[in-house]
Amino acid sequence: MDNGGSEGIMSEVIVENVTKKFGNFVALDNVNLTIKPKEFFVLLGPSGSGKTTLLRLIAGLEDITEGSIYIGGKKVNDVPPKDRNVAMVFQNYALYPHFNVFDNIALTLKVRGYSKDAIKSRVSEIAKILHIEDILNKKPRELSGGQQQRVALARALVREPSVFLLDEPLSNLDAKLRVEARSFLRSLQKEVGVTTVFVTHDQSEAMALATTIAVLDKGIIKQVGDPYELYTKPKDIFTAGFIGSPAMNMIPGKLVKDGSSWRFVSEDFSVQLINTEFENEYDVILGIRPEHITLVKDDGINAKINNVEPMGAVTYLDIQVGSVELTVQYTGLIKLEAGMEIKVKFVEEKMLFYDRKTEKLLNV
């Protein structure tokens, strides 16, 4: 796209000690984030965790209670939304119902004083990218959900904003369209190169899109990192449980020193640890992902199969180990049935231990 004086295409967003209160309710608690230029940054958290609130603070739609936000090096606390040069896609799209698609997209250019010809060429350019050239004369109510979403994206992308804010823009699409839209969004963002903050509660969406993910829970940033980091080394129990599907298995137990090595002891079994060291004995929760539990012939933990779910490429097994039920992911198909007795083993390098008191990761 031709670049019409876009001051902030490389904009960095810094959120510094930001707290947001609604009355006495703390929606965001001392949030610190640095969103690098051109990054695809995903805010991930369950419903009500404060994602939308943070996005609205960056857009300027809410006042900051404490702290500061910088866009492109400029403090924007007191800058109204219309002067922040951010673009936003609302969860409900918020298209202008009385304008046709062309005018929906063109309005922001008209306001910014672009010439008629410039508006026309820019709108048709973005419409081509988003495959909405054929519906430019239609009103929003005549469009399907997928088309409305693309119009909302077009409206945001038609000018080059400093920051592109997306609030669960794919949540209204059906499963197939959503997966398509993901890869489309990702390549579009690469192409346009605008710093993007994307909000979602769907961890698989976050993993698929993000260069960096920030995990948010009850207004607190739990962890910031790339998808690999978040998946392999979640720093606390919340993140560990939130990222990954099926979810990580969590087994309460104790870390006990056993001569020169350590042992994980649960109510129903214990595991000798060969390569892992700790400072103290702790009450812990062992986190182990389904794909890191393997089936073994002998010398394993006894388990009974509760349920078998063959998916094709993988098979999920729900197994009972004493009082805990675990999920196992087996690569490929396997002939097993509910009720069978098997033996399993945990991959030691993948075992994550969380202090039960602080809920923080103990492995180094």
């Binding site: 739609l61 219309k82 918020a94 202008y96 119902p97 309005l107 922001t108 929003p140 409305q148 409206r155």
Partner: protein, 284 residues
């Protein structure tokens, strides 16, 4: 459920009868020949239809009345005054006030005050208004009546449009502010077009109210167009030729002319009232 439906239907028929019969009576009287107007028992289904009541003056007890078509100068005044007070009440005061009250000044007491003002009979203010309009030198002028009528069209428009504005999803206006629109542009380019059904209802109700108003017109005006601002309801009273004597045919014919705009607009407004108020911008 079925029983209730039948009961409601009967109730509706009774109400409709009460509402529609006077209209029917006026229309048939306007179209009756004189001999069928003055009969006991009354004629409900006229055997002969005539339009002469519209253009010939009636005579009762030897007195000659005006004609229905003679109402033209009064109709001009009514049209201008009703249009102006309706449009000003809707666009200049009602819509901006309603928008400000739903978006910025979310004060319930102010809203209640408006409702309260609408509940006071208009005629209660007749003396102060008479004094004000006299002082303003606006007796028997368009602006005299327009100003008074705005005092009841504006609160109605405000009250009505508040409901419409609060139904607009907030995010549409937020999108406009992010797109770079000022607060004022957001109001008139985005919010206002989204409440067009409400605007229509407001214009029509205001127009009908002002069109039908009698007491203020009686007190504040005394000659028709072009010398004064007398409105058409006053013309109707002139069909009372001498005391207790009515030119019924002409009165009914003039009544039909006066009712026509209200009825047409009423039917038109109904379409907007019934129509859905949000227009599918937002996927909830």
């Amino acid at each position: 459920m079925k029983k209730l439906d039948a009961f409601l239907l009967i109730l509706l028929i009774i109400f409709s009868f009460f509402a529609l019969f006077p209209i029917y009576w006026t229309v048939i009287t306007a179209l009756k020949v004189n001999s069928e107007i003055f009969t006991i028992p009354p004629v409900f289904f006229p055997t002969k239809i005539t339009f002469s009541n519209f253009y010939t003056p009636g005579t009762t007890f030897g007195e000659v009345s005006q004609t229905a078509f003679g109402s033209f100068p009064w109709l001009i005044n009514s049209t201008i005054i009703a249009l102006a007070s309706s449009l000003i009440g809707t666009f200049v005061i009602g819509a901006p006030a309603a928008y400000a009250l739903t978006r910025y000044l979310k004060n319930v007491w102010f809203a209640r005050l408006i409702l309260f003002m609408m509940m006071i009979p208009e005629a209660a203010f007749i003396i102060p208004f008479y004094v004000i309009i006299t002082k303003l030198n606006m007796i028997n002028t368009w602006w005299g009546l327009i100003l008074v009528y705005i005092s009841f069209t504006a609160p109605l428009s405000t009250w009505l449009l508040m409901g419409f504005f609060s139904d607009i999803p907030k995010s549409v206006e937020e999108a406009a502010s992010i797109d770079g629109l000022s607060a004022f542009s957001t109001f008139y380019k985005i919010a206002l077009p989204m409440v067009i059904p409400g605007i229509m209802v407001s214009i029509i109700l205001n127009f009908i109210n002002a069109w039908n108003e009698f007491i203020y017109a009686l007190v504040l005006t005394y000659t028709p167009f072009p010398t004064g601002a007398q409105t058409v309801p006053l013309y109707l009273t002139d069909f009372i030729v001498i005391e207790k004597s009515f030119a019924w045919g002409g009165l009914a014919a003039a009544g039909v002319i006066v009712m026509l705009p209200s009825i047409i607009l009423g039917i038109y407004a109904q379409k907007y009232l019934v129509k859905g108020w949000t227009m599918g911008a937002v996927k909830e």
